[in-house]
């Protein structure tokens, strides 16, 4: 069975600049895949090729086995661009109606109401886009991407304009989509978000995948944080050394309130991998 989204040896050049230099990755149904990397790493280019908005110079991209950009591929994707704008004079409900017709979705009013509820916009269904906050527009963008229950959802920086509550709403929404079997390709700079929701991630740098795997596999144990009467202290010890550490602290007169194993964060791994590169 074909993966929901696949790119193989994908290449893209802009004049003399290499945007993608042979990228391979796959996203399976029901998987949340995070795409990370500094500005200019090639993430948005990859996403745009996947949606058929840009043409690859080499390799191929497929959506459920169909060439990216083909009608069959376009039938199966939902997409939210990093930079998007809906006509300011349309209401939220009208935006979804337009996209239902374009996506040839038969979901009707029920689908629109369900999607607006999912992104927390039920109360503003009749409000014009021009009168919505940036965050509301971004949530509306997510709702339009979900029109027609796409097999593959491609989101380019979907939470950049959202407040913490909005981000949490989107995280919960993505988790729900995973349960429904939707494949999600999430392009984001928000590493903590990606670490929290994604099953796998890939880090792009200079058009290449420089690291890929589950967030757990990319992070590592980093000792423990011990809370005593003097505050929290971090000890760089292996798991097997923790009982001896605690005994030593108690013998030394410390009162132990908590011992929490510590791991490196995805952000730390990312910075180590791309070397603090600023795009």
């Amino acid at each position: 069975m074909d993966p929901a989204f696949r790119v193989e040896r994908l290449e893209k050049y802009y004049g003399g600049v290499t945007a993608l230099a042979g990228v391979d990755l796959e996203v399976d149904a029901g998987e949340l895949f995070g795409l990370l990397g500094p500005n200019g790493a090639g993430k948005s280019t990859l996403v745009r090729i996947g949606c058929g908005l840009a043409r690859a110079d080499g390799g191929r991209a497929t959506v459920c086995g169909h060439a990216a950009g083909s009608v069959e591929a376009r039938r199966r994707i939902g997409y939210l661009a990093e930079l998007f704008r809906f006509p300011s004079w349309l209401s939220a409900d009208e935006v979804l109606t337009v996209h239902q017709r374009l996506a040839r979705s038969a979901g009707g009013r029920e689908e629109r109401e369900r999607l607006l509820a999912m992104v927390g916009l039920s109360d503003v269904a009749t409000r014009r886009v021009g009168a919505m906050s940036k965050g509301m527009q971004q949530r509306l963008g997510i709702a339009q991407a979900l029109i027609g229950a796409p097999a593959v959802l491609i989101l380019d920086e979907p939470t950049s304009a959202l407040d913490p509550a909005g981000r949490r709403l989107v995280r919960d929404l993505l988790a729900g989509l995973r349960e429904q079997g939707t494949a999600v390709l999430l392009n984001s700079h928000l590493l903590s978000e990606v670490e929290m929701v994604c099953d796998r991630v890939a880090i792009l740098s200079h058009g290449r995948v420089v690291a890929a795997g589950t967030p757990d596999s990319l992070t590592s144990a980093r000792g423990v944080v011990v809370e005593t009467q003097e505050g929290s202290r971090r000890f760089d010890v292996a798991r097997g050394e923790i009982p001896d550490l605690v005994a030593r602290l108690v013998a030394g007169g410390d009162r132990i309130f908590s011992v929490v194993p510590s791991r490196s964060t995805l952000e730390e791994f990312y910075l180590e991998t791309v070397g603090g590169e600023i795009g």
């Binding site: 058929g52 908005l53 376009r74 997409y79 006509p87 337009v98 996209h99 017709r101 374009l102 040839r104």
Partner: protein, 281 residues
């Protein structure tokens, strides 16, 4: 039957027409033009002419020639307004991408934008022409021999302008395309005038320039064919004077003009679709 996604894009374009302030320029200018035209008819038809001249035909055809030029200009401005941001302009602000990733894709988007722009512009010039004709008939009692033909010629001309501007929108930024489309429009009319002058003074070279311009930019030839129709039924001394006037030297393009115009629009649209298909967004 128009496909659903094409109709959706065309519908958005039509609705946008009423929402953007820039489009208000067209009805304001139209109202101003028709007001002035009515005043001009009322005044000019009341002026007496030498007995041997058909005053109604002389004044009517001249004023309608003037009206056709103004209507063509306004219709072309409308056609350009409706198309000049269509691809690059809308892509730069992120309005295009959510539409073209849908199953209808780029071809559906282009078809919708073109049908809306061409339809609105053509309907506009036909409507304004009809009003001008009614005013001319009511005040001066004059109608051209085939009243519908100039209207169809104007409609065809603005459809050609819409197609050219849509092609420009793939390659040029918004402002550059708006300027370029109106410059092409002006260049076409100028080349047509050069051709008429060439014919009047017997200059083969100038006539060739005019002919080449007619092929390259057939909206001008269509406009000329419409003008020609206004004066075609006027004979004698009146006909001679009309044909010597500012709108009297126009050529009838013949049956080949319509066929070439259709082919031209199809070629321009094909070039637009091909360019758009190859453009990264």
């Amino acid at each position: 039957m128009i496909r659903g996604d094409v109709a959706v894009v065309a519908g958005l374009c039509v609705r946008e027409l009423g929402r953007r302030r820039v489009f208000w320029v067209v009805p304001v200018l139209t109202a101003g033009f028709l007001g002035l035209f009515t005043m001009a008819c009322a005044y000019t038809f009341s002026v007496s002419a030498p007995g041997q001249l058909d005053r109604a035909a002389l004044v009517g055809s001249t004023l309608m020639g003037l009206a056709m030029f103004s209507i063509l200009f306004l219709g072309s401005v409308l056609a350009v307004f409706l198309t000049f941001t269509a691809v690059r302009g809308d892509a730069e602000v992120g309005m295009l991408q959510p539409l073209v990733v849908r199953p209808g894709g780029r071809a559906g988007f282009l078809a919708g934008r073109f049908l809306a722009a061409a339809g609105i512009s053509a309907a506009y010039v036909v409507a304004v022409y009809a009003v001008a004709l009614v005013v001319t008939d009511a005040i001066g009692g004059w109608l051209p021999p085939s009243p519908a033909t100039p209207a169809l010629a104007l409609a065809g001309a603005v459809v050609v302008v819409a197609a050219i501007s849509l092609l420009g929108s793939v390659h040029l930024s918004t402002i550059a395309n708006g300027i370029a489309a109106l410059m092409v429009f002006g260049a076409g009319l100028t080349a047509g005038l050069i051709g008429q002058i060439g014919q009047s003074i017997g200059s083969t070279r100038l006539e060739q320039i005019g002919t080449a311009a007619s092929y390259a930019l057939p909206f001008e030839a269509l406009y000329e064919a419409g003008l020609h129709n206004l004066t075609a039924g006027t004979g004698g001394l009146t006909g001679l004077i009309v044909r010597l006037g500012p709108f009297g030297g126009a050529q009838n393009g013949g049956p080949g003009l319509v066929a070439w115009s259709v082919v031209y629009v199809l070629l321009v649209l094909a070039a637009t679709a091909l360019s758009f298909a190859r453009r990264d967004l």
